[in-house]
């Protein structure tokens, strides 16, 4: 019997940015199986040329609304690297708190608003507000916590204004930190409630494994988002972030026109599951407990479980934030001004975006004006791996109904939490 499968998802919904899924199969033979990205390129690396080091983070923050603190921090770290600026411990720790806020906000948005509808058989979060009001309220509580952290530390929820090279344009007060501490404590039960709800829906998460290389920042004995060196599950070698270009190895594939990345294999994955697989030994107690609740262990190669790793990370950064605030309150907030003397040089900044490791590199002339930039976005680094997952997944589910195949593929893309607006480097495969 002849059977044709023709899947053409023009713009996957509930992801940030525009991506397409195209599958064509006839009589069990796969003719086409592609993940495509038609997002309009925005050319940030060209736009920053000639701009002052004072304006760079303001510009590149606009690469992504969901990870604007992350982009600002990567740029600021690169500027400080280029100009030889050492920041105070206070600046360092307060930045990490702002960055944690973004992890909480982004992860809760992804798990609660974008993925949960799949697990609960709905097409958006809207019907969940009436069918599962307690879950939605718990998600909102955690999401609001992340936003408030960014607001108190960086000036607002999206596109930070206080984070500048050398330090802070304005410091938070001890009262601000004390308020945040209260919110963090209060957010633990709702975060655990979200975890418990998803743990009860594990049977809805597809059972699919593909042996994968995972890459993330590593800095024993911590679970890092902001400091560290580049690590891989394929090697014990740790690479300084300044050498990131020998890790990402952008390349062209014969099957598509997309620039992909690879290190030890054809593709690698970045994101929460990568961080967990590299750093799970350094999680704090509540996060360890949360991982156990799901049965999530190091070495997990089911990409759909990235969302589970995100839930573990929400708990981890809440716990770690409370520790950081206690340290800062004990030390007291010291008034200090961000001072920078521009000089010529090249610098690299690397941080973990919620969706994976992010690299920014800039060169400046002696007046501090940018002469060149290279930005490598986590979603770009994942595109090749999504394609490899498709190639492994689709043959194994080809006997299913077309709608099932489509849903499983959409869920897979969503699990990577792609942020396609960010993908300044991605070259499209084909328009449909």
């Amino acid at each position: 019997m002849s059977r044709t499968i023709d899947i053409n998802v023009h713009h996957v919904t509930r992801v940030e940015g525009h991506g397409n899924i195209v599958v064509r199969a006839k009589d069990g033979k796969i003719l086409k199986n592609e993940w495509q990205v038609p997002e309009a390129p925005r050319f940030f690396e060209a736009m920053v040329r000639g701009k002052s080091y004072e304006d760079i983070q303001t510009i590149v923050s606009r690469i992504c609304g969901i990870c604007s603190v992350t982009h600002s921090l990567a740029a600021i770290k690169a500027i400080e690297d280029a100009m030889g600026i050492e920041v105070s411990e206070q600046t360092d720790k307060l930045r990490i708190l702002a960055h944690y806020g973004e992890q909480i906000e982004s992860h809760s948005l992804h798990v609660g608003y974008l993925v949960a509808p799949d697990l609960l058989g709905q097409k958006s979060v809207v019907p969940l507000a009436s069918s599962h009001p307690d879950v939605v309220k718990a998600v909102i509580a955690v999401h609001r916590l992340g936003n408030t952290m960014m607001e108190k530390l960086s000036g607002r929820k999206t596109h930070p204004v206080r984070l500048v090279p050398g330090g802070f344009a304005k410091l938070p007060s001890a009262d601000d930190l004390l308020d945040l501490r209260g919110m963090l404590e209060k957010a633990i039960p709702p975060a655990q409630a979200v975890a418990a709800t998803v743990a009860g829906l594990l049977d809805k998460i597809p059972d699919f494994d593909r042996d994968t290389e995972y890459i993330a920042l590593v800095k024993p004995p911590t679970y890092p988002f902001y400091h560290g060196q580049i690590g891989s599950t394929d090697t014990d070698e740790l690479v300084p972030v300044q050498e990131f270009e020998r890790v990402i190895n952008e390349y062209m594939t014969p099957q598509s026109t997309a620039k992909w990345t690879r290190w030890h294999r054809d593709a690698y994955a970045v994101g929460a599951l990568a961080r967990f697989n590299l750093n799970a030994d350094h999680l704090l107690p509540l996060a360890v407990e949360t991982a156990k609740q799901f049965g999530l262990k190091k070495g997990c190669c089911n990409p759909y479980w990235n969302s589970i790793a995100q839930i573990v990370e929400i708990v981890q950064v809440i716990e770690r934030s409370i520790q950081l605030i206690d340290e800062r309150l004990k030390a007291g907030i010291e008034p200090e001004r961000a001072e920078v003397t521009p000089r010529a040089g090249t610098g690299t900044g690397c941080v973990e975006a919620p969706r994976g490791i992010l690299f920014h590199k800039y060169s400046f002339d002696e007046t501090g004006h940018c002469t060149g930039a290279n930005i490598s976005i986590p979603t770009n680094q994942n595109h090749g791996n999504i394609q490899k997952d498709f190639e492994s997944l689709v043959p194994s589910i080809l006997d299913r109904e077309q709608d099932d195949i489509r849903l499983l593929m959409e869920m897979l893309v969503r699990a990577y939490d792609p942020c396609i607006s960010c993908s300044t480097h991605y070259l499209d495969v084909e328009f449909v």
Partner: protein, 248 residues
């Protein structure tokens, strides 16, 4: 009265303005009792082409994106431009300060000639279709969005400030950025943000666009008073002010 059907579309942008709608949290749930979202790619899988109100985020950066926008305009009774990319072209217009071939080569190298990387001078939404309401800012303020939407549902005209950021900054009793030797676009940029950036120790970089009929002479006086030049001011105006109708 049936609930108006609302569709949200995004063109070239960071999607941070949509995020401010999500960030309304419980207030968004309240809003959903009076409007009916029928298409919102980032938030829902259902999609309908019948809507009363279209909300457009992002700029138009490719010729191929103009037709879909025109179609949306035909279908919608009311069209709202959401955020700086849509209202003034935003940060995207920085690209237009360079030769477009050079821009493509810088980012994509040898692949720059590929057809899907075609890019055109950036257009704000009003440069392609008629816009009924602007929600200014980068990102928008959720409260202002909610206010404008509520005015619209009530048939009232929203009152958006027609004075510069300095007015709000003074009301907040901030020390002037210029006193610290910092350049600020407060004197010529539209208020309505509550002088958020200067209140956070940063200067205004102009995301809400120029105030109507900016007092250029006053701005020049400020420059003179603090030993700055109009050139200095122009450099800061590049970020959100490249290729705008108003220039110094």
């Amino acid at each position: 009265m049936s609930k108006p059907k609302v569709a949200i579309f995004d063109f070239a942008c960071c999607e941070g303005c949509q995020l401010q709608i999500v960030n309304m949290e419980e207030e968004l749930l309240d809003l959903l009792t009076v409007i009916d979202p029928v298409q919102w790619r980032e938030g829902m899988s259902d999609q309908s082409d019948e809507y009363d109100i279209a909300i457009i985020e992002g700029s138009i950066t490719r010729e191929e994106d103009e037709e879909p926008l025109k179609l949306i305009r035909q279908r919608a009774k009311i069209l709202i431009a959401l955020g700086a990319c849509a209202t003034i072209g935003g940060i995207n217009k920085l690209k237009d300060a360079f030769d477009l071939d050079d821009v493509k080569k810088t980012v994509y190298g040898e692949a720059a000639g590929m057809p899907h990387l075609a890019t055109a001078p950036v257009k704000a939404v009003h440069e392609v279709v008629k816009v009924d309401y602007d929600v200014h800012g980068c990102p928008i303020d959720g409260k202002e969005f909610s206010y404008i939407l509520r005015c619209l549902l009530a048939g009232r005209k929203p009152a958006i400030p027609r004075y510069p950021v300095c007015v709000e900054c003074k009301l907040r009793e901030n020390a002037c950025c210029y006193e610290f030797g910092k350049l600020c676009l407060g004197p010529i940029i539209r208020a309505g943000c509550g002088a958020l950036c200067p209140s956070n120790g940063f200067h205004c970089f102009g995301c809400r666009g120029y105030v109507e009929d900016p007092n250029v002479n006053a701005a020049k006086e400020v420059m003179e008073q603090y030993g700055k030049t109009v050139e200095d001011l122009r450099e800061k105006m590049q970020l959100f002010g490249t290729r705008q109708e108003f220039t110094l």
